[in-house]
Symmetry: C2
Subunit: 328 residues, 2 copies
């Protein structure tokens, strides 16, 4: 069995060899900047791992894996403009560090380069299928981002709409990465689809975990500020579930709190405590955990259904477990 | 021989059948808006015409032709943000009519849909080749736009740099449209490349004509305000050639004029007359006309070299002539 670091080494070597040292500098410097900011590189690693379930020449999935990473970073660059985000992975965003024009145009050329790397797949007979999957996924990611923005302005977002939004905005690209790697590695369409579903469900479970950790996480272990979603009035699963379960009085209290803005650490802590109080009263933590576990179980069922040895599948199982076992 | 209106009818029927009636509305309404604003539809029509040189089933190039039109409109949407343009074809631009977020994200999804339509080509064995050509072209278009923005801030732009910029920003997409249509229509790689060069050179000649008309056009016939480039201090071929040919005194006068901003119709007219005076003194109109004619001759030489009957090629010849015969 390969180890995580073997996949990582391959990715970082490929990244070092594909540094967009091109002209005009103004167009490509932001591309190098964002691609070298770091991150877990989860999507390309999942593509390589999926390939390795079916054959050992997983370096042949590297161009497709890189395509997904370039695409993912393109979405970060453009989303950061729309979200007016000052920081990304602790560093200034492209529209802050360079300019908004740079963020728009360098993002565009990254999207095009994602297709350029996709084209490098050796098995040309797969190109049409990979392109179809990648386009479908990319369109869904845009639709997810649009709905995320729409939801900020709406006060009638349903749980189903929320789950569809996070599925499109984040989960489908994990599925796409896995399915592409699997197919390039020689998987049957059925096995590749099982890995797509594995990735999609891992993504959904991860997002549930993220919603939970933001409100209930250990401040020592959680990377971001605990309660950040509450302060920003984000309509997470917890909020939407509470609005669904609560009495009219609960709903009014929560809706009123979600329209307040805090001006000090003290006000923030009071608001977080009040919202958490409503959540606790309505038991939404339990519902969120149950849903996370359901997604997680579905994910592992799909992995189990893949026609390959447990040994071959071990790296994917372990990677998903590492992503999802963070205790709340 | 097919007539122009046959190609137009096919395009407009396909456009009517592909109206992006999808959800979320906020994402797709701007796409419908820009695609229905009009325009000459030159790129998709050239693709269909190029196909028709080699076979009669030119409707089979319609998805690729539409891909190019969708891509072209994506570039307009994002360029208009960067250029802070209020109007496009006489109507408010997307970032003005909807919002900047809409312009960014709807532009992104258009770029993805361009690849989705490209995928619909019937001859799947051509997909890799079409994708390579389309990616190369799309990357060049981004590089051209970046250089166009760079040039606004530089005072040492050379003629060669300017010509490369307009080649990338506008001419290569005409070439790409023709080459794709030709290959789908069954052209040999050589003939398709001749049509690429035909399109690229028509594009360059057209841009030279545009630079000339802006300064020397008949106000009655020219669609835009004559002298607009001068008022906006645009570094056109005429300006760069004048800076190359002029004495130090000419250069100083022109550079000084290019840093003035006008506040009334009278001031504008004075500025236009002064700049035109420098151009006339240095004979730059003649040089621009010669260059335009050289591009035009190269274009028609490439068309002549295509291994097909004059009758088959007549529609392309006539279309290019109609584009390029506007007397200055």
């Amino acid at each position: 069995m390969q180890t995580l670091s073997q996949f990582q080494d391959l990715f970082y070597k490929y990244l070092a060899d594909n540094q967009f040292e091109k002209s005009p500098t103004e167009l490509y410097e932001p591309v190098r900047y964002i691609l070298n900011l770091g991150g877990k590189r989860m999507r390309p690693l999942l593509a390589l791992m999926a390939h390795s379930v079916f054959s050992d020449d997983f370096e042949k999935s590297m161009p497709a894996a890189f395509a997904v990473e370039v695409f993912h970073n393109f979405t970060l660059v453009h989303d950061d403009i729309m979200d007016e985000a000052p920081l990304r992975r602790g560093k200034p965003t492209i529209h802050e560090h360079f300019s908004q024009d740079h963020a728009i145009l360098s993002g565009d050329v990254m999207l095009i380069y994602a297709y350029e790397y996709l084209r490098y797949v050796e098995k040309k007979e797969l190109l049409g299928e990979l392109l179809a999957l990648f386009n479908k996924t990319a369109i869904e990611v845009c639709e997810g981002q649009q709905n995320d923005m729409n939801f900020e302005k709406r006060d009638d977002v349903t749980l189903d709409e929320y789950l569809k939004m996070i599925e499109f905005k984040t989960a489908v690209l994990l599925g796409c990465s896995l399915e592409m790697g699997a197919r390039i590695g020689g998987a049957s369409p059925e096995d590749a689809k099982h890995l797509y579903e594995f990735g999609r469900n891992v993504g959904l479970a991860f997002q549930m975990q993220d919603d939970l950790l933001d409100t209930y996480g250990d401040p020592e272990k959680f990377g971001k500020k605990v309660g950040g979603d509450i302060i920003q009035n984000k309509k997470t699963y917890l909020v939407l579930r509470a609005l669904e379960l609560g009495t009219d009085a609960d709903k009014k209290e929560l809706n009123d709190l979600m329209q307040t803005f805090t001006n000090s650490k003290e006000e923030e802590d009071v608001k977080i405590e009040k919202v958490r109080g409503i959540f606790n009263r309505l038991n939404v933590k339990k519902y969120a955990e149950e849903l996370k576990n359901a997604y997680q179980k579905t994910a592992f069922d799909h992995l189990a259904a893949v026609d390959a040895s447990d040994d071959r599948k071990q790296i994917l199982r372990k990677t998903a477990e590492d992503l999802l076992v963070r205790e709340v």
